[in-house]
Amino acid sequence: MTPLLTVENLSVDYHLKRSLLGRGVTLSAVRDVSFTIERGRTFGLVGESGSGKSTIGRTILGLAAIAGGRVVFDGTDIGAFGAQLPLSFRREVQVVFQDPLSSLNPRQTIGTTIGQAISRHRDVSRHERQRDIVTVLDSVGLASYQAERYPYELSGGQRQRVAIARALAVRPRLIICDEPVSALDVSTQSQVINLLVDLQHAFGLSYLFIAHNLDVVRHISHTIGVLYLGRLVETGPAASVYGAPAHPYTQMLLASTLVADPQAQAARSRARRRQPRTEPPSPLNPPPGCPFNTRCAWAADVCRTRMPAFEATASQGRHAACHRIEDVRTAAS
């Protein structure tokens, strides 16, 4: 089965206007990223700020321009569409954004928002549309009377459910989840995450789940990709990447996460204090060679001059971009 989404060597640039005369500075937000998403599976994309994770999501959605490489959805190269993506594509790929408040039109009721989504893609009578709205609200756990409400009247968790409902209403196959739970409280986070998993089982949805929290990503993803300064440094099955990270950055990320277990955390704290303390470089000024070399305990001369290739590692289904991958693995085992 061909993957639902294939991203090949994708590069995306940001153009910043710096001086008043309009001379632009180009920022390379995403460089040479490749991964696939299978049908009915979740690919978790993890990275910190400046990693380019949101940019990848936006590019797949057609909100940002492709500077290099390809994005292939179900066999079709979306770069060939040009600026305006066709309605058929819009039906298949939808989005849930991070901020539930600003992602809903504040001056429309929930019902109107979802109704717009439905009418745009299906020719249905008013009665059928109403029924569809109720159905989709029900599938995200909201009562039908919520359709009359405005976004400000709902809580953060409820708004996020509405955003999910809006995405579901067009019956897509792939949903880009751009940090969907980062703005929510812990108790609400778990509700929304469970909902997303349930919906995946029920409708066979695929997700690109973008987040900065590795624990959350681990929970919901089948495959994980780790981004650093616009480059993919590691991919692989979720359990495998989480349990035995191959790339030094993934290791640093894991070591920096805080677990709610004081004893375990004390040991982790001691371990992480042994790591080098450095600031991440600015995306405007990426270091030469491997982008992580300025903060890597394993950095050698080759790392500072040559960009490592993203290639398969010894383990099953794992890829990483590191010159010293073998040494890292030996030290970890």
């Binding site: 710096r18 001086s19 008043l20 005369l21």
Partner: protein, 314 residues
């Protein structure tokens, strides 16, 4: 900072060009025919053609435009169609007056508006603030011409503290010059003072609610220092753009106020040239005034860059 200054200066040049082009076209589209005005309705075609040639109005528009630009760069703005006096001279005579009026008005507005705005923000919600809002709203609503009339009536005609009409150049007597500017400056400046007060107040209120002000209080800084040093500088940023716009407004309104105080500024020159379709005078005046406005905008941008480091080119 120097780079900011340089880039802004450079961008003024194309702007001036476009303004000249715009003015030229606008003026030429005027429905009044200057030749008919000069010669009267009954003139013969031959006379009209001959006059047109003499005034250079028969050449193609493009030629006229570039010819005008070329001379303007060298300081020659042409001659009035009616008086044949050099436009540049007429403007130069009156330019200082208009500038004095506008600057005096702005100084008055700043010295009244900014303190009032800050005071209102600090007492936000109290009776004083409400009173201030009413005063400011009234200041915004009062027509400058009416104010000028009333001030003139009260202080010049009745109390005789100031001269009713006329203008004393600075070179003749600085004291009299300043004295003659008082009433016009107040008449002009009240509206602008109200605009500035209102903008300062709302900018200050917003700044005072900012997280960094709370952080400064958390560090135990004295309130006076927080307000004067930190809040004011941050609030100044949006106020600056208001000042730039108001300068342009002040120059415009000064043309009208001149009439009331019989001050020999650019206003009378301008109004006559509109009525008579005296192209060279109209073009020249608009260009000179627009240049002043562009310079003021430039100075504002520079000031903005001085205050707000984020804007400076890196």
């Amino acid at each position: 900072m120097k780079r900011l200054l340089l880039t802004r200066l450079l961008s003024v040049v194309p702007m001036l060009f476009f303004v000249s082009l715009f003015t030229f076209l606008l003026v030429r589209l005027t429905s009044t025919d200057p030749i008919a005005q000069i010669l009267g309705q009954g003139a013969s075609d031959a006379d009209r053609a001959e006059y047109a040639q003499r005034l250079g109005l028969d050449r193609p528009l493009v030629d006229q435009f570039f010819g005008w630009i070329w001379s303007a760069v060298q300081g020659d703005l042409g001659n009035s169609l009616y008086t044949s006096l050099p436009v540049a001279e007429s403007i130069a005579d009156r330019f200082g007056v208009t500038l004095s009026l506008a600057i005096a008005g702005m100084l008055f507005a700043l010295s009244v508006g900014i303190p009032l705005g800050i005071a209102g923000a600090l007492r936000h919600g109290s009776r004083w603030d409400r009173l201030l809002t009413i005063v400011v709203s009234t200041g915004l609503a009062v027509p400058s011409i009416w104010l000028a009339l009333l001030l003139s009536l009260a202080f010049a005609v009745t109390l005789r503290w100031f001269q009713v009409v006329g203008y004393t150049p600075f070179s003749e007597s600085p004291l009299e010059w300043a004295r003659g500017l008082v009433l016009p400056a107040v008449a002009l400046g009240i509206h602008t003072a109200a605009v500035i007060a209102r903008q300062t107040r709302s900018a200050m209120i917003e700044v005072l609610q900012a997280r960094y002000i709370q952080a400064l209080r958390a560090r135990g800084l004295p309130r006076r220092q927080i307000v004067l040093r930190y809040a004011t500088k941050n609030a100044l940023v949006p106020v600056l753009s208001v000042i730039a716009i108001q300068m342009s407004v002040l120059v415009g309104v000064s043309f009208v106020i001149e009439r009331i105080f019989a001050v020999p500024g650019l206003g009378t020159l301008l109004i006559d040239s509109v009525v008579r379709a005296d192209f060279p005078v109209l073009q020249g005046t608009v260009i000179v005034v627009a240049s002043v406005v562009l310079v003021v905008n430039l100075l504002t941008d520079v000031a903005y860059g001085l205050i707000n480091p984020k804007v400076r080119p890196q």
